[in-house]
Amino acid sequence: MTIHHYDTVETFPDKRIPDPHQDAYSRSTLGFWIYLMTDCILFAALFVTYAVLKESTFGGPSSKDIFELKTAFIETMILLFSTVTCGMAVLAAVKGKMQSIRTWLGLSFLLGASFIFLELREFSHLVHEGFSWEKSAFLSSFFTLVGTHGFHVSVGLLWMAVMMAQISFCGVTVDTFRRLVLFSLFWHFLDLIWIFIFTFVYLLGVL
C-alpha cells in the first residue's frame, strides 16, 4: 500500500471550507451528535438521582438553606455569553479570519474559566461551611450533578486550548474546521445541560 498524505485544502484549492455534505464531515457530525446523546443519558441518570435524593438531607441543610440564586444566575449568564462568543468563532472560521477566530475563542475560554472559578468558589464555600458531599445523600447528589457538568466544562476548556493551538499552527483546514464545529456543538450542549441544572437544581431549589 502506498501512503498518501493529503490535506484536503490542497485537494479543493478553490474552497477554504469543506462542503458540509461531504461524506467524512457529515459522518463525524452525526457520530458526535450520537455521542452527545449518550452524554445526555448520563446526565439524565444524574438528574434522576438528584431528584430521588433531594429530600434525603439526613439532618443536614436542604436546598433552600445553601443555594444562592445570585451566583447561579451570574454563572448562567457567563456560560450563555460564552456560547455566543463560541458561535462567533465558528462564523469567523467560515470567513477564514484567523485573528478574529483567536479573539473569539480566547474570549470563550476566559468566560468558561471564570465559570469554573465561580463554581469552585461555591463548592469550597459549602465545604468550609461544613456542608461537604459526605454530609448527606442530597449533598452527594448535588456535588456530583453540578460537578460532572463542571468536569465537562473543564474538558471543554482543554479542548478549546488545543483548538487554538491547532488553528494557530495549521490555519483553517478541513480538519480543524470540522473539529471546531464539533467543539461548538459540545459547548452548546453543555450550555443546555446547565440550563436544566439552573432550573431544576437552583431555581426549584430555592422556591
Binding site: 498518501h4 452524554d39 441518570a45 445523600a137
Partner: protein
C-alpha cells in the same frame, strides 16, 4: 508509594496459586513462541496497530476465548463445590472464595464473553453485509476493542494480585459499599467493568453510524439483512443503556472513594436506587447480547433452507418492538422490592408483551424451513437446539414475569436455570452457529464438520443435564449462590447438574481441538468464496476477504442480493476498478488501552500518583491522535486488480 498494595495481596490458597502459575506460564510460553517464530514485528504491524475491522473482530474472538476459559473454570468450581458441600461436609472452597468465584463467573461471562462476541461478530460481519469497505470510525473501533481488552485483563490481574469482588456480578449495595467491602475486590470489579463499558459505548457509536451512513448504493432500510437490523437495534440499545451503567458505576465509585452517600445504608442513601439504575442498563443489556443471536439465526436459517426468510417485515418490527420494550421492563428483576401492585403489574405486563414479538421471530424461522430444502449442517443443528432451549427458557421467563410466581422463586436456582437457558441455549448457541457459518469466510477453510457435530451433541445434552435439574432445585427451595446446604436430598440433583457441566466440558474441548485440527488440515477443508450457497453480500467476495473487502462497491436492489445475482437478477454493477482509500494503522488505540489498564490497576489499589500519571497519559495520547492530519493509505486500481485476479477462487 504503593497505595494499599502490600505483600498480602500476593498470598493465595492452593487452587488460586495454581491458576496464577498456569496463567504466568501460559504467558511466558506465548512470549517464547512469538520470539521463536520471530513474529513480534508481524504481531505489532498486522494486529496490534490494526484498524481493519476484520482483524479487530478476530482479536475480540481471541480475547473471548481466553475469558471464556476463565469463566468456565469458575462454573466448574461452583458445580464441584455444590456437589460435595452438604451437611457436615464443607467442600473445598471457603464461603468467601465461593463468593469471589460466582461474582467473577457472571462478570466474565456477560462483560467479557457475551459483549466480546457481540462486538467481535459485528466487526466481522457488519461491513461485509452492508457492502462497505470499512467502518465509520476505524480508530474509535480499535480504541473500543483495546478498552474492552484492558477491562478483561484487569479481571485476570485480580486473580494474581489481591481479591476480586464478592458481591455478585452486579455488586448490589450496601454490600458493595465501603462499610461491608472495604477491600480492593469491588474496586477491581468497578474499574474493569467501567473501562470495558466506555469501550462498548464508543463501539456502539461507531457501528450505529456505520450502519446509518455506509450502506452500499440501493441498500435501503427494508433491504438490509436481518443481522444488520439486529446489529442496528443492538447498537441503539448500547448507546442508550451503557451511559447509565457508566453513571451508576461512577456513583458507586464516589461512595467508595469520596465517602458520598448515594447507596449507603446511612447518610440518607438509597440502595434500591442502585438496583433500579443498574437494571435500567441491565435489561437492555440482556437484549444487547440476545438480538445479535436472533440476527445470526435469521441468516443461517434461510441459507440452510435455500429459501428467503419468512416474514422479513414482521421480523424487522419484532426487533424494533423488542428494542423499545426492553427499556421498560427493568423492574421485573426485583419485583420483591415491594413496589405497589400497580407498579409491579405494569412491569409484569410489559415483560409478558415481549413474548409476542419474540414468538413472531420463532415462528418466522420455523416457517422459513417449511417447504424449504433444509440442510442439516452444524449451524442448523445449533438452531434446532436453540428452538428447544429458547422455548423452554422463554416459557419459564413468562412464569417469572408474573409477580406472584416471582415472589416464590425469586433468586432461586429456577431463575438461574431460566437465564442460563437464554444465555447458553440462546446467545451462545447462536454464536456457535454464527462462528461455524462465517468461519470459512475469514479463514478460507471450514471447521471440521464431524467434530462440530460431536461438540454440538455434547453441548446440547450437557446443557439439558446441567440446567434442567436447576429448575427442580429452584422449586425445591434452593436459592442461588449457596456455598453450602443442609438438605441431603438436593445432593443427587446437584451431582446431576455437575455431570452436565462435565459433558459440556467435553463438548468445549472437542471444539477447541476441532479448531486446531481444522487449521492443521486446512488444505483439505478449503471452502472458496461461497461455501454454503449464501444469499448476502459477504459471500460474493474472496475468502478471506481482501483488506478493502469490496474491489467494486456493489449495488443492490433487493433482500438477498447475492441470491438474486446467482439467478441472473439484480441491478447492473460497476465494472471499473478504482483507487481505494484505506485508513492507516495506528498504535494509539493500543497505547490508550494499555494505559487504561495501568490506570485501573493504580486506582484500584489507591496508588494515586500512578493513576494521575496514567490519566494524563490517556489525555495526551488522545490529544496527539486527534490533533493530527487525517492521513490515508491508497491502494491503486492496478493493485486492486492484481489482488482480485490472484483471488479468483
Amino acid at each position: 508509594m504503593f497505595g494499599r498494595l502490600t505483600k498480602d495481596a500476593f498470598i493465595h490458597d492452593m487452587a488460586q496459586n495454581g491458576a496464577v502459575a498456569g496463567m504466568i506460564l501460559g504467558a511466558i510460553a506465548l512470549i517464547a513462541l512469538i520470539s521463536y517464530l520471530g513474529r513480534w514485528k508481524w504481531l505489532w504491524r498486522e494486529w496490534i496497530t490494526t484498524v481493519d475491522p476484520k482483524r479487530i473482530g478476530i482479536m475480540y474472538i481471541v480475547v473471548v476465548l481466553i475469558m471464556f476459559a476463565k469463566g468456565f473454570a469458575d462454573a466448574v468450581m461452583m458445580r464441584m463445590q455444590q456437589c460435595v458441600s452438604v451437611g457436615d461436609s464443607f467442600g473445598f472452597l471457603t464461603a468467601e472464595h465461593f463468593q469471589e468465584v460466582f461474582s467473577a463467573h457472571g462478570t466474565t461471562m456477560i462483560f467479557f464473553v457475551a459483549m466480546g462476541v457481540v462486538f467481535g461478530l459485528m466487526n466481522l460481519i457488519v461491513p461485509l453485509q452492508i457492502g462497505a469497505r470499512d467502518v465509520a470510525y476505524p480508530f474509535l473501533n480499535a480504541l473500543g476493542f483495546w478498552l474492552f481488552a484492558a477491562g478483561g485483563f484487569l479481571t485476570l490481574v485480580s486473580l494474581a494480585v489481591g481479591k476480586f469482588s464478592i458481591a455478585g456480578w452486579l455488586a448490589y449495595p450496601p454490600l458493595s459499599g465501603l462499610e461491608y467491602c472495604p477491600g480492593e475486590g469491588i474496586d477491581y470489579w468497578i474499574w474493569s467493568v467501567q473501562i470495558a463499558g466506555v469501550g462498548s459505548t464508543l463501539s456502539g457509536i461507531n457501528f450505529l453510524v456505520t450502519i446509518l451512513k455506509m450502506r452500499c448504493p440501493g441498500m435501503t432500510w427494508m433491504k438490509m439483512p436481518i443481522f444488520i437490523w439486529s446489529a442496528l437495534c443492538t447498537n441503539i440499545l448500547v448507546i442508550f443503556a451503557f451511559p447509565i451503567l457508566t453513571a451508576t458505576l461512577a456513583l458507586l465509585t464516589l461512595d467508595r472513594y469520596l465517602g458520598m452517600h448515594f447507596f449507603t445504608a446511612g447518610g440518607g442513601g438509597n440502595p434500591m436506587m442502585y438496583i433500579n439504575l443498574i437494571w435500567a442498563w441491565g435489561h437492555p443489556e440482556v437484549y444487547i447480547i440476545m438480538l445479535p443471536a436472533f440476527g445470526i439465526f435469521s441468516e443461517v436459517v434461510p441459507t440452510f433452507s435455500e429459501k428467503r426468510l419468512f416474514g422479513y417485515v414482521s421480523m424487522v418490527w419484532a426487533l424494533v418492538i423488542i428494542t423499545v420494550l426492553s427499556y421498560i421492563v427493568w423492574l421485573h428483576h426485583f419485583f420483591t422490592m415491594g413496589a405497589s401492585p400497580g407498579v409491579n403489574t405494569f412491569f409484569a405486563i410489559t415483560t409478558m408483551l415481549i413474548a409476542i414479538p419474540t414468538g413472531v421471530k420463532l415462528f418466522n424461522w420455523l416457517f422459513t424451513k417449511f417447504r424449504g430444502r433444509v440442510h442439516f449442517a452444524s449451524p442448523m443443528l445449533w438452531f434446532f437446539a436453540f428452538v428447544l432451549n429458547f422455548s423452554v427458557a422463554g416459557m419459564t421467563g413468562i412464569l417469572l414475569s408474573a409477580p406472584p410466581v416471582d415472589y416464590q422463586v425469586h433468586n432461586s436456582l429456577f431463575l438461574i436455570a431460566h437465564f442460563h437457558g437464554m444465555a447458553i441455549g440462546g446467545v451462545l448457541f447462536g454464536f456457535f452457529a454464527g462462528f461455524t457459518y462465517w468461519f470459512p469466510k475469514f479463514t478460507g477453510f471450514h471447521l471440521d464438520e464431524k467434530l462440530n457435530t460431536y461438540a454440538f451433541w455434547c453441548w446440547f445434552l450437557g446443557f439439558l443435564v446441567a440446567f434442567m435439574p436447576l429448575y427442580m432445585l429452584g422449586f425445591m427451595g434452593a436459592t442461588r449462590r449457596l456455598d453450602h446446604y443442609d438438605v441431603a436430598s438436593w445432593q443427587s440433583v446437584f451431582i446431576s447438574a455437575a455431570v452436565g457441566v462435565l459433558i459440556i466440558f467435553i463438548g468445549a474441548s472437542i471444539q477447541l481441538f476441532g479448531l486446531f485440527w481444522s487449521i492443521k488440515n486446512r488444505d483439505k477443508l478449503r471452502s472458496g468464496r461461497d461455501p454454503w450457497n449464501g444469499r448476502t453480500l459477504e459471500w460474493s467476495i474472496p475468502s478471506p476477504p481482501p483488506e478493502y473487502n469490496f474491489a467494486i462497491v456493489p449495488t443492490v436492489d433487493q433482500i438477498d442480493p447475492l441470491w438474486a445475482t446467482k439467478r441472473g437478477q439484480g441491478p447492473e454493477q460497476k465494472k471499473e476498478y478504482e483507487d481505494i482509500h484505506m485508513p492507516l494503522n495506528t498504535p494509539a488505540g493500543f497505547f490508550i488501552g494499555a494505559i487504561s489498564l495501568i490506570f485501573g490497576f493504580a486506582i484500584t489499589w489507591h496508588i494515586y500518583w500512578l493513576a494521575i500519571l496514567a490519566f494524563v497519559g490517556i489525555i495526551t495520547c488522545l490529544i496527539i491522535r486527534l490533533s493530527g492530519k487525517e492521513v490515508h493509505g491508497n491502494i491503486t486500481a492496478e493493485e486492486v486488480q492484481r489482488i482480485e485476479e490472484a483471488a479468483t477462487t
